[in-house]
Symmetry: C2
Subunit: 218 residues, 2 copies
């Protein structure tokens, strides 16, 4: 279903076998293929396409989304370098995936079917965890809480640095957080005025008070 954020290893003693003792990497059963390139905005897969691969982001960034009947776009996840996405629960994709900028993606071939569930299981667990985090963000009412949580998450995924680069537009962020672009923009300004972040430019954030930011987003 929702493709999500997978990059670290898991505990080797999970009762559900997530950390299978002989499990070398989250994607053992998929033999790497050539890296494919996508320009900004180019499609990786579309809703309705059969699920044939999962993918690793080599560089760049990806958005995974669905389009609703009223034309709204719900971005269920962003993926940056090192992360695996494309994991869905059905035969055909329910989501679209697009490159946000110039992006390299490596399709991972699915091996023999009897091995897939074993090897892909930890990936599924990671997807569950990432989705749960997003669900938690959306359950927060206030725009400032959603944005703060989003920024903290992005910082963590970029090596816990205080300098964050946002590969996505305000529109993308709005569609991810269930807000409008105006509210996202105003909330960035508010975080700046509160002294929690700096905004060298709209795509680069410097976190000044990480703890305070964390507290707002919980």
């Amino acid at each position: 279903m929702l493709a999500s954020t997978i990059s670290q290893a898991r505990s080797p003693t999970h009762p559900f076998g997530a950390g299978h003792p002989t499990f070398p990497s989250p994607c053992d059963s998929q033999r790497p293929q050539l890296v494919a390139f996508r320009q900004a905005g180019e499609e990786i897969y579309a809703a309705g396409d059969p699920v044939k691969h999962i993918y690793r982001v080599e560089y760049g960034a990806v958005r995974v989304f669905r389009l609703l009947a009223d034309g709204r776009r719900q971005i269920s996840a962003f993926h940056v370098a090192g992360e695996i996405f494309g994991f869905e629960a059905r035969l055909d994709h329910e989501f679209f995936a697009e490159a946000i900028n110039a992006t390299g993606i490596r399709p991972l071939r699915l091996a023999a079917i009897e091995d897939v569930s074993r090897d892909l299981f930890p990936v599924a667990l990671q997807s569950l965890t990432a989705m749960q985090k997003h669900l938690l963000i959306l359950s927060r009412h206030a725009a400032i809480e959603r944005l703060a949580a989003f920024l903290v998450d992005m910082a963590e995924r970029q090596g816990d640095l205080d300098q964050i680069h946002l590969p996505m537009s305000r529109m993308d962020i709005a569609d991810h957080l269930g807000l409008t672009i105006e509210t996202v923009s105003r909330t960035f300004t508010r975080l700046k005025e509160l002294g929690l972040i700096q905004l060298p430019d709209s795509r680069n954030i410097e976190i000044l008070r990480r703890n305070a930011l964390n507290d707002i987003g919980e």
Copy 2:
């Protein structure tokens, strides 16, 4: 992670092996144990407890939730008879599970670890699907859209009947949809005034215009 709605079988040809050819049931590797009973409000497991089982609801209803720093409660899922829950991504529960009313739950013992991922994989996929549905609901801004989607989902899980029984309180619904009890209550009234539902009493809903309700929640 999020325990969720599992009751039907899946397609037997999923590329990720969800429909493993020789896969007899979602929980083959768990030998059923005795049914345990819980009064309304009684705990099934708590955050921090080690994950030892997953559970099937025999009768009654269960809420799975987490408590946030500010005291808010986020209910990530409800489970009714026939559904399996308790599936989480970590060694210890991140969530609490409680009986909503008098409820029977059957702990399913986890079998040998090498079989678990194979047998539990479809359960994980179902959890992903259910969570995705909830995420979609929360991404909707309007209270009426969230409640409509919730009611349609509950109706589907009760055999697609137009008579829905809600085992949970307004407070539970509010904590699930990210709204307040007052807004939930007002929105029920609004749906009634729009002629989409009847409210014989607060726990029993009759859907009058299913299609219209569907359209609102998408």
